[in-house]
């Protein structure tokens, strides 16, 4: 599969659970939505321009979609974070938010959640 370059103008989509909800009472998104799990290489997302939102959300009764700008991740949040296209056999839009150190700190997860908006 062809790997595309993710530009700073691109947006990434991430599913946000509804129950239990990662959307707080004030409408902000919990940092858990952008927390790297143990053993993960990166945070799974879909590249918006390649994605079908109806497929990305999987089930609208269980999830919503949040989007975050790749340029903000790379340049504002920074800390060695990058966005890489990582197509899967069943999801060509699949992309990862990666970290050079292999870790994403709590403060960077918070910064990403603050920069993300519900679609």
């Amino acid at each position: 599969m062809e790997i595309v370059q993710i530009g700073n103008e691109d947006f990434l989509l991430r599913r946000i659970p509804i129950s239990p909800s990662y959307i707080k009472p004030d409408g902000s998104i919990s940092s858990f939505a952008f927390t790297l799990k143990k053993g993960e290489d990166g945070i799974s997302t879909d590249l918006e321009r390649l994605a079908d939102k109806d497929k990305s959300v999987l089930d609208r009764t269980k999830y919503r979609l949040a989007k975050i700008n790749a340029g903000i991740i790379r340049n504002d949040i920074n800390d060695g974070l990058d966005c890489k296209h990582n197509p899967l056999p069943d999801n060509y839009a699949h992309s990862l938010i990666t970290s050079q150190s292999g870790k994403i700190s709590d403060s960077k997860s918070r910064a990403m959640s603050r920069s993300a908006v519900i679609v």
Binding site: P20, S21, K24, P25, F32, L58, D106, R110
Partner: protein, 176 residues
């Protein structure tokens, strides 16, 4: 609370030894008693034996935390772990201590790794209590969404951080 009360620099935060609210509140034995009283005696999905002191909101918060134990693996569609039993029990225990002070969580959620978050908020100040899946617990303090401290959660740090959030001048009637 006015915004002026919340303009606190990290150097203003003093964590010093303080007595517990009661002699029994923090013993491991008592923690299990609390969990037994409110969770184990409940049905599989709800808590059914509240005491007089436990209001509806407290019961709601405990029920919500308890319900996390029924989440399956991959509940977030990104392979999240099931919330840890020890994390849920510690979070319920903390919530019960909190409600004794007539305070309630602003937000609770399980992490993808099985931890439990209880977030408290007052204007621009936030406390995040993370109850770890391995039994280790932490507190984060944030002002204007910027992290200004991280501490291991223990009896002293719990008391001091709550007092910092709810009663920064120490002149509140419901604080010892």
């Amino acid at each position: 609370m006015s915004n002026s009360l919340k303009q606190i620099s990290p150097s203003d935060i003093v964590f010093k030894s303080m007595p517990p609210v009661t002699n029994q509140e923090y013993s491991p034995e008592n923690q299990f008693m609390l969990v037994d009283k409110y969770v184990i005696f409940g049905t599989s999905t709800s808590v059914s034996k509240p005491t007089d002191q436990m209001g509806e909101q407290a019961l709601f918060e405990v029920n919500k935390l308890h319900s996390f134990l029924h989440l399956p693996e991959n509940w977030d569609s990104y392979n999240a772990a099931k919330p840890s039993k020890v994390a849920v029990e510690n979070a319920i225990d903390f919530t019960l201590r909190l409600t004794q002070r007539q305070q309630f969580p602003f937000f609770v959620a399980p992490s993808p790794n099985g931890d439990i978050l209880i977030e408290l908020k007052d204007n621009n100040v936030t406390l995040e209590f993370i109850f770890g899946e391995d039994g280790t617990n932490r507190i984060f303090g944030l002002v204007n969404k910027e992290e200004i401290f991280e501490k291991e959660l223990n009896e002293t740090n719990e008391y001091c951080s709550l007092r910092w959030l709810y009663c920064p001048y120490g002149d509140c009637s419901n604080w010892e």
